[in-house]
């Protein structure tokens, strides 16, 4: 009896240790292939929090992330000599997490707002955007007024949610943890419309899933990269890097590749004062 109990205990211990080993071997570094450029001057890589997936801004598998935010920040990183490491995080706590130091930068198609400015600092804008109403093909909701009384989906914690809460009078507002969840709810008919960033909506429209943008909502939003409040050194570095990337044409190249048209001129001069 004693030997069988002992063997049972040993088996459990081995299983526990074994699973730790497997977990350790299995996890690859979330290193993006940041231009391979010799890991510049031995300074530490920048950890970046991002809510992945949110195509076309960020998507892909760990170690292999792509998207506008990812590639732009990698280019900025290269120009300031820092490597960039993206990690997946949830959007609705991203600013809190940044303020607590979970990562150095937040790059997640995040709109610069006064509310958020109370907790974090934003770089100069790197993208100008607006919201869109996404519906199934032939759907009737094609204006903000038509949102009244309808079942609308948004992603939790986004400016899309804010917009519908303040301007629309949706019958029911469903807040999903991730952007693609809201789009899926539209696809299977649980909601009538989705209010979400226009580039994400365009991406969904082009995916051939029977969805279309019925209206654009000009909210004049600007996306910025965020750092913890008071991290002025990093903020200035990022702004410098961003300016360089815009000036030397890398920005325009990236923009055209992903969004299929030229970037707006305002980006070259758009600035943002950290409050």
């Amino acid at each position: 009896m004693r030997t069988t109990r002992l063997t049972a205990l040993l088996a459990v211990l081995l299983l526990a240790i074994g699973s730790f080993v497997v977990a350790g071997c299995g996890s690859s570094d979330d290193d993006t292939t940041a231009g391979g450029g010799g890991g510049g001057g031995g300074s530490e890589p920048l950890t970046v929090g991002s809510d992945i997936p949110y195509p076309p801004f960020e998507q892909g598998k760990p170690g292999n992330y792509t998207g506008f935010d990812v590639e732009l920040l990698e280019a900025v990183g290269k120009s300031i000599g820092r490597e960039v490491e993206f990690e997946d995080t949830s959007f609705d706590t991203i600013f809190l997490d940044l303020a607590r130091g979970n990562f150095d930068v937040a790059a997640s198609a995040a709109t610069i707002t006064d509310e958020r400015e109370k907790t974090v600092d934003f770089t100069n804008p790197y993208y100008i955007s607006e919201q869109a109403i996404l519906v199934e093909e032939g759907g009737e909701i094609d204006s903000v007024e038509k949102l009244n009384g309808a079942t609308v989906a948004v992603q939790q914690g986004t400016t899309g949610q804010e917009f519908v809460e303040e301007e629309g009078e949706a019958g029911e507002l469903r807040k999903y943890p991730q952007g693609p969840d809201a789009v899926n709810a539209l696809k299977n008919g649980t909601v009538e419309a989705v209010v979400i960033d226009i580039p994400v909506a365009e991406n969904a429209e082009n995916a051939g899933q029977g969805l279309e943008i019925s209206a654009a909502i000009p909210t004049e939003e600007e996306y910025g990269f965020a750092v913890a409040q008071g991290d002025t050194e990093l903020l200035e570095e990022l702004n410098e890097g961003l300016k360089e990337v815009i000036d030397d044409g890398t920005y325009a190249q990236l923009y055209e590749k992903l969004f299929k048209h030229e970037p707006p001129k305002e980006i070259e001069t758009a600035t943002h004062e950290a409050s």
Binding site: D92, G157, A185
Partner: protein, 248 residues
């Protein structure tokens, strides 16, 4: 430390948002009660089906056992996502079943009820089974020898004794169920966790989540003490002077 307290235990903040969080908690309670009652009933049905005697009814027993195994093995969160994503896509179902809006509650509420009932029914079936099997075999023999059919014996003799024995474990499962209702937040149901985390992402303060936790304690602590009392009362029926569970 002060930052931590302000972030999570800001009492003024909790008071300001109390109504909102309470509304969310009310949805949690409704979800718990409805799913709980349905799961208790469904579990009893499953357990009875599992016990049906005779070669002819082997398929019934087999499928019941398979059902219980599958739904104790699949995580509830996965089931919620599959149901909420899958049922609306079943074209052949009428709209009222595909996107249920019964009694004014939205479809994700009912998908949550379905997922929780399916899963917890399986857990409770096993609890009922342990109760049934702990009733002395002599009871069934005596009942049958009095001329009762299997069904009559179960209904009048076995089940009343069995269910009485397992009220405490069933109540424990119910407490677990009330906490698992928070999983339905992933399909955007405005229960207490989603409301709390929504407030958190708008205001950057997490005290609404703590408030939600406190509301849960207000619900589960009395239930836990009730379980203790039931256990000790049940035990005192059978033990004379032997060590018992202390009821607080």
């Amino acid at each position: 430390m002060e930052e931590f307290l302000k972030q999570f235990f800001d009492v003024g903040f909790m008071v300001d948002h109390f109504d909102e969080v309470l509304d969310g908690f009310w949805i949690t309670i409704q979800l718990s009660v409805i799913s709980g009652v349905l799961a208790l009933i469904w579990g009893l049905i499953l357990a009875t089906l599992r016990q049906l005697p005779g070669k002819a009814l082997m398929p019934v027993r087999f499928f019941t056992i398979a059902y219980i195994d599958v739904f104790r093995g699949v995580p509830l969160l996965l089931l919620i996502l599959i149901i909420a994503g899958g049922i609306p896509a079943l074209e052949f179902l009428p709209e009222s079943l595909r996107l249920p809006e019964w009694f004014g509650k939205p479809d994700n509420f009912w998908f949550g009820v379905l997922a929780i009932t399916i899963t917890y029914g399986a857990y409770m079936a096993e609890v009922y089974r342990s109760g049934i099997e702990s009733v002395p075999g002599g009871q069934m023999e005596a009942a049958r020898s009095l001329g009762m059919s299997h069904g009559q014996a179960m209904r009048s003799v076995i089940l009343p004794q069995a269910v009485r024995k397992v009220i405490a474990p069933l109540l424990n499962d119910f407490i677990a169920l009330t906490k698992d209702t928070t999983l339905v937040s992933v399909i955007a149901l405005n229960e207490v966790v989603l409301v709390g985390s929504d407030i958190q992402s708008e205001t950057f303060n997490s005290s609404a989540l703590t408030l939600g936790a406190l509301l849960f304690l207000a619900l589960t602590l009395p239930l836990a003490r009730l379980v203790d009392k039931l256990i000790s009362r049940e035990q005192s029926r059978f033990t004379r002077g032997a060590p018992r569970v202390e009821a607080l």
